[in-house]
Symmetry: C2
Subunit: 124 residues, 2 copies
DNA sequence: CTAGAACTTAGAGTGCACTCGAAGTCAAAC
DNA sequence: GTTTGACTTCGAGTGCACTCTAAGTTCTAG
């Protein structure tokens, strides 16, 4: 069993990433896959371990509210090769700032919700 | 200057809450205001301090991804009066669980982003 | 009293990220 | 070799939360 053989079908990729097959195809259509997903002796998609890893990282970007368009920018940088290291770093660092701000806002909101919960607990 | 006089126009309410006047009207239309916003000697809205406070809490619920429909449920409970304390508490506690999960996921994603940033920093 | 800004409503439009449907193709099991 | 279920593409549809438009009304400053 070679590494190539380990590439999996779209349904298995869906299972491994927690996304639907619809979403995986949508991401590919939107140009979010790094190198283009391979096809097995046919038209059917085969996701390699690297593809899966990328989708998992992409999911982390999405779960921190990076818009699809920004992800695509990042992907475009990756495709440009090593010359885009600085650009990729800058993009991720800018996003990091936004994530920290979101964490801050959410923590702040959680405190307000907890305060309200506490008042209800006292009131019962 | 009485408390009633301190009720403010929609544009001032927008400024104080960080929402647009459009959004404030939309929230009212969707039944998200606790008691119905008062009108000043006319058709024009007047937001009281309590209205503003509620909008600020509502904004915290929204910023933690509570859907509009869930906020409306909460509002309906408030309108039902004291008998709904337990229901409100349950709703907020359930939401709290989701907020903590979101914080957890986001923290997790931040770590992955930081790891990637670190690899870029090393690579330059 | 009047001009202009701010307000009103109802309904339509927008943007994002999926999500689904239809019609056809392919592959693994028997 | 045929059946059955997974796969393909492309385009349309959905859901959510705003966001805007249009046409008309009201407040406020001068």
């Amino acid at each position: 069993m070679t590494l190539v053989d380990e590439a999996v079908s779209i349904s298995e990729a869906a299972e491994q990433t927690g996304l639907s097959t619809h979403t995986l195809r949508y991401y590919e259509r939107e140009g979010l896959m790094l190198g283009g997903v391979g096809r097995a002796s046919s038209t059917h998609r085969r996701y390699t371990g690297l593809d899966i890893q990328w989708v998992q990282f992409l999911t982390k970007l999405r779960s921190t509210a990076m818009p699809i368009a920004r992800v695509r920018e990042y992907v475009d940088f990756v495709r440009q090769g090593d010359s885009s290291f600085a650009a990729r770093l800058a993009l991720l660092e800018a996003h990091r700032v936004s994530v920290v701000a979101q964490l801050d806002e959410m923590t702040n909101s959680l405190a307000a919700i907890d305060f309200k919960i506490a008042t209800y607990r006292k009131g019962i």
